[in-house]
C-alpha cells in the first residue's frame, strides 16, 4: 500500500465537505464555492483510484477530469452571473437561507 491512497480519501472528504457546505451554508457565493469543492473532490477520487502505483495515472480519468474542470468553470460562471443579477434585483436575496 502506497501513500497515494491518501489522495482518493482526501477527495472523498472534500466531496463530503462541499456537499455539506452546499446544503447548509446560506450565502450563495459559498454554495458555488462548495459546489466547486465537490467537483475537485470527485476528480481526486477518480484520478486517485485510477493510479496504479507506477509513475503515471490512467489517461482516461485524466481526460475526463480535464473536461470536468472546464465544464465546472463554465457552470460556475453562469451561476455567478445569475447571482450577480439576483443581487441587483434583490440585494438581500443572496444570503437568504431558504
Amino acid at each position: 500500500m502506497t501513500s497515494l491512497v491518501l489522495y482518493p480519501l482526501a477527495g472523498v472528504v472534500a466531496l463530503a465537505l462541499g456537499l455539506a457546505g452546499l446544503v447548509t451554508r446560506p450565502h450563495l457565493l459559498t454554495k458555488v464555492l462548495a459546489f466547486n469543492l465537490m467537483a475537485t473532490g470527485a476528480s481526486l477520487l477518480l484520478v486517485g483510484l485510477g493510479h496504479d502505483g507506477t509513475a503515471s495515472s490512467d489517461p482516461v480519468p485524466q481526460a475526463m477530469v480535464l473536461t470536468g474542470i472546464v465544464v465546472s468553470v463554465s457552470a460556475t460562471a453562469v451561476a455567478l452571473a445569475i447571482i450577480a443579477r439576483l443581487s441587483r434585483l434583490d440585494p438581500d436575496g443572496v444570503e437568504r437561507s431558504d
Partner: protein, 332 residues
C-alpha cells in the same frame, strides 16, 4: 523514501482537507474564496504528485486562478452596502439572529450521502490493500490505440481522438455558457470603470506578450506531452483578464465581431472536423488513418483561441456597457 512519501502525501492531503473545510466554514465569503483559491493551488500540487501534469496545469490556471477571479469579481460586484454589513456581522457588532438550523433534514441527507461515500472509499481502500495495487486500468489499451492514432500524448489521444465526442460537447458547453451569461443582461460601468493605471497598462502589454508565448509553447507541446489547447487557452485567458483589469477598452470585447467569431471557433472547427470524415464515407468524428495528429493540431489551435476568449468573456460576466456621460450613467 517511503516514510518521506507518507509525510509529504499526509501533509498535502491534510492541507487540502483543512483548506476545504475552511473554505466552506468561513464566516464571510471573502475569506472562504481566498481559502478556496489556496485549496485549488494545493490540488494542483496533488495532481502533479499523482502523475497528472495536464490536470495540474488546468487546475492551477482554471480551477484556482480563473474560478477564484470569477468569485472575487462577483463578490465585488455585489456592492459595498452588503460587504460592510457582513463585516459588521463578522465583528459581532450586529449579530443576525442565528439561522435556526435551516434544514436539519437537508443536513441529514448530506450526512448520509457523505457517509455512504466514505464507506465506498473505505471499501476501495481495503480492496486496494488486499490486492496490493490496482489493475492497470485503461492505460495499456490507450497505449496500444495511441500507436494506430499517431498522437503521442495519452491524454491528448483520449481527448481528441478516442473520446472526441466528450471534447466536442465540452466546447459546446463553453459556448453555451457565454451565451447564457450574455443573456443575463448588460453590466453598466461608470466612466472609467476603474482608474486606468498607465503603469499597469504598460505592464499588461509586456506580460501579455509573454503569456502568448507560453500559450504557444503549451499548444505545440500538447500532442507529445502535458499541455494542449485547453491549458494554452487558460493562459490566454489570464492575459485577457489582465487586459480587462488594466484597460477598459478591453470591455468592448463582446461588441467586436472578430471576438465573436473567435468565440465560435472551437465548436465550429470541431464540428467541421467531425463532419468532413463523413464525406469520405466514414462515420462522425472518425478520422482517416494517420490523419489524427493533423486534425488534433488544428483543433487544439482553434480550441486555444476560443477557450481564451470564452474564459475572458465569462470573467467579464456579461456584455459590458460603459456609460458615456453622467446623465446616461444615472439611468436605471
Amino acid at each position: 523514501m517511503s516514510l518521506a512519501a507518507w509525510v509529504f502525501d499526509g501533509t498535502l492531503t491534510l492541507t487540502l482537507v483543512v483548506l476545504g473545510w475552511g473554505a466552506v466554514a468561513a464566516r464571510d465569503p471573502f475569506t472562504g474564496i481566498v481559502r478556496y483559491i489556496t485549496f485549488g493551488l494545493m490540488a494542483a500540487l496533488a495532481w502533479a504528485r499523482l502523475g497528472a501534469p495536464d490536470l495540474a496545469l488546468a487546475e492551477a490556471a482554471i480551477g484556482a486562478g480563473l474560478t477564484g477571479a470569477l468569485l472575487l469579481s462577483t463578490l465585488g460586484r455585489m456592492g459595498l452596502r452588503q460587504a460592510s454589513r457582513r463585516a459588521g456581522e463578522a465583528l459581532g457588532a450586529a449579530p443576525r439572529a442565528p439561522t435556526p438550523l435551516p434544514g436539519m433534514a437537508q443536513a441529514w441527507s448530506g450526512l448520509v450521502l457523505g457517509l455512504s461515500l466514505a464507506i465506498a472509499a473505505v471499501i476501495g481502500g481495503v480492496a486496494r490493500t488486499l490486492h496490493g495495487r490496482n489493475g492497470p486500468g485503461l492505460g495499456p489499451l490507450v497505449d496500444s490505440l495511441r500507436e494506430t492514432s499517431g498522437i503521442d500524448s495519452p491524454v491528448a489521444v483520449v481527448l481528441l481522438d478516442l473520446r472526441g465526442y466528450d471534447t466536442l460537447l465540452e466546447t459546446a458547453v463553453l459556448f453555451t455558457a457565454v451565451l447564457a451569461v450574455w443573456c443575463l443582461g448588460v453590466i453598466r460601468f461608470r466612466r472609467p470603470p476603474w482608474p486606468v493605471d498607465p503603469v499597469l497598462a504598460s505592464l499588461a502589454r509586456v506580460v501579455t506578450a509573454l503569456l502568448v508565448l507560453v500559450a504557444a509553447y503549451l499548444l505545440q507541446l500538447g500532442l507529445h506531452g502535458p499541455g494542449g489547447g485547453f491549458q494554452a487557452g487558460a493562459v490566454l485567458a489570464a492575459a485577457g483578464v489582465l487586459w480587462t483589469l488594466a484597460d477598459r477598452r478591453a470591455l468592448r470585447l463582446g461588441e467586436s465581431r472578430l471576438a465573436r467569431i473567435g468565440l465560435t471557433l472551437g465548436l465550429g472547427a470541431f464540428l467541421v472536423a467531425a463532419v468532413i470524415p463523413m464525406l469520405a464515407g466514414r462515420s462522425f468524428l472518425t478520422y482517416a488513418a494517420g490523419s489524427a495528429p493533423a486534425w488534433a493540431w488544428v483543433l487544439e489551435t482553434f480550441i486555444a483561441v476560443s477557450v481564451g476568449l470564452t474564459l475572458t468573456a465569462l470573467f467579464m460576466g456579461g456584455l459590458s456597457e460603459i456609460a458615456e456621460d453622467e446623465a446616461e450613467e444615472r439611468a436605471p
